[in-house]
Symmetry: C2
Subunit: 395 residues, 2 copies
């Protein structure tokens, strides 16, 4: 299961919520296993998951009828499904259906609740929550739908609650950790695949195509593909172009796809030919900062302390003017989960957090250098997901 | 340019708007050329474009400092950029920067406006729009940011305006049409590439990998990949699995990626071995419905009339019980732009609309059959983007 229900209930308790409603795609998938495709690939389509607090009733998924086949998927663990809207699916008479089609047929036979909010209100009332304090993830619900919800539940108290999901998602379940590990490994293998085509005359786009193709072959889907060479590597979000790779060019990857909906975000550098002394020194410094951060991380350690130690280490080890706003973040269904490894962060590491730790350095006129590892916080330290080392690979 | 400013101004005039603010990624890119990466690959990050009405001042982009290199991109035609937030980028002293890095350096030298709404309010006041009627695309702005905007502009009238952008986006510019044409062609070539690996023993995932890899090789990125075989093809949003292709299996593709941010959405069918008579007949019927719809489309024709003609044709040509909720939709930066080809639609075709026309049929226990073409409405008809025909390809 993706949902850490214990943690979600703890977050709800902190905010005195009787129930919580997921509305953004990441939270809908997280709270139910339901991958509401149209919501993932567009902005606006509505899908919700109602999760009542302990003892307040069963969770329910609210889905448009056009997505009902995805709700019938084996990965969806919420059993109470409410559908809305017209969508036509026929059925061959007299033929036995397989298990999934039987489930689809049963769901189509249920009542059409009209619209998303109507369906949500219906199930909230059935659970006796019409007077309750209900947290609503404010990121995925359209404002006119929020207004309608408030109007149809005049006795309920509606509270913005995206942060409660963010709090819950910070501690990953074993299934989430397995997916994130594979997602990071696919990204790592994809960098190696891209470097296999890196030679004089190859373009950034050639590297990107090799990178994304490997991600596809390994069962992932492309998302983040910042790949730049030469001085272009200093652009934070560099997008691949027809720029040709020349001797002496550095290559910076800040990349990662999705695997079973879970994100990857890692970074590595290579250089075509012998790197100048400055590049070697700077790269060693950022690697030392990364190593220092990773060595410190274990349950109970403050994220702000790790930030400070990482930055100090980079400065001491050869990049004396190094500055950063953060040196890492959680990752999961969203590319930036809690914790935030920043100087003002109040976050403390806990077992089960999956984290991207990074020490990027961008210098216009020179290069962008960046190492970023992904790892899970264990009982007494960390377990890295990485295959490759952080060294500046000389091609 | 992506923006059809004439149409946007007409939509603003209908709603008596003095200015409009884009907030969702599709509209931010549309109104400025700025691809605000973090907003595209996550939910929550804020980026805005203010577009004043004619004679009310220049447009402005509001971007986080961490995305400033993407604002410096040559494709961004809006010149007034306001940045917010801390992000560190160094610079080699004494070295000449290239044009794009010079632009980044200049933008970094500008004031940090603190946060997204602060930056937006600042430019609204500079334009003298603090008492104006301002349309705000309500889909991408977080509700707490909307509240803050209203609080900081007590004399302004804020109106939800996502529909004004939807209205503007319906009529494509030549640059948009060129991108959409290529996006559709890439999807079409990718189906052919997938069918090249379709043989007994190949899996749905094998087809998907071949499909997406071709999309990558042609410069696109995967988005929509509904690929199902046998009775699984009847699932509307079928996601590829390890299900093995057997003789007699139909294959349904409802697929399309992005090319330069513009979506594709096309559908085709193939069958491994000779199809049964019922499948041939049904497939001919849906093709006839599609042909009838396409033959009717030209400026001035009502979308509802095209819907009725398409459904009637499918029924008459061999699928007498055919029912549908719509037979197509616009496409652009969003996968579902206006118009909507549905029975209750008030939309009328206009020159420059890019449209997906489709006649899908889903029968559980049998198969899903679907043909979907993409085309642009011309002065007196349509110009198709498709390479392949709609015929049921027998493998």
């Amino acid at each position: 299961m993706l949902l850490n229900s214990e943690r979600l209930f703890a977050g709800m308790k902190q905010e005195s919520l009787d129930a919580i409603v997921a509305t953004m795609p990441e939270n809908v998938t997280y709270a139910s296993g339901f991958w509401a495709m149209s919501q993932w690939i567009r902005r606006g389509p509505q899908a919700y998951v109602l999760t009542p607090g302990p003892g307040r009733g069963e969770p329910a998924v609210i889905a448009s009828t056009g997505l009902i086949d995805l709700v019938a998927d084996a990965d969806v663990w919420v059993k109470d499904i409410r559908r809305f809207g017209k969508f036509i699916v026929d059925r061959t008479p007299g033929v036995d259906l397989d298990r999934q089609d039987q489930r689809i047929e049963a769901l189509l036979a249920e009542e059409d609740c009209g619209d998303a909010v109507g369906a949500l209100v219906k199930v909230i009332k059935e659970r006796g929550l019409q007077n309750a304090r209900i947290g609503v993830d404010e990121i995925g619900i359209l404002p006119q739908y929020w207004d309608k919800l408030a109007e149809m539940l005049p006795q309920a108290t509606l509270v913005r609650a995206a942060d409660v999901f963010r709090y819950a998602r910070a501690i990953k379940t074993p299934e989430e950790i397995a997916r994130l590990r594979q997602s990071a490994r696919i990204a790592d293998m994809s960098i190696t695949a891209a470097l296999a085509v890196a030679r004089e005359g190859a373009t950034e786009m050639d590297l990107a195509r090799a990178f994304h193709t490997k991600t596809i072959v390994e069962g992932g889907l492309p998302v983040l593909g910042c790949i730049g060479v030469g001085t272009r590597s200093a652009m934070t979000n560099v997008q691949p172009t027809e720029r040709v790779l020349r001797r002496g060019d550095v290559i910076r990857f800040d990349v990662g796809g999705r695997y079973q909906h879970y994100r990857a975000d890692i970074a590595r550098n290579a250089v075509l030919g012998e790197p100048p002394e400055k590049m070697v020194r700077y790269h060693k410094a950022i690697c030392a900062g990364l190593d220092r951060a990773i060595a410190m991380i274990k349950p109970g350690v403050r994220a702000a302390d790790v930030f400070n130690a990482a930055v100090e280490t980079v400065r001491r080890e050869g990049l004396s003017h190094y500055q950063r706003s953060h040196v890492g973040h959680g990752i999961g269904l969203d590319g930036y989960d809690a914790p935030n490894i920043a100087p003002s962060s109040k976050d403390v590491f806990e077992e089960g957090m999956v984290i991207c730790v990074e020490t990027p350095y961008y210098e216009m006129g020179f290069a962008g250098l960046q190492v970023e590892d992904t790892l899970v916080v264990t009982k007494d330290g960390v377990d890295s997901f990485m295959i490759s080392g952080t060294e500046l690979r000389v091609l």
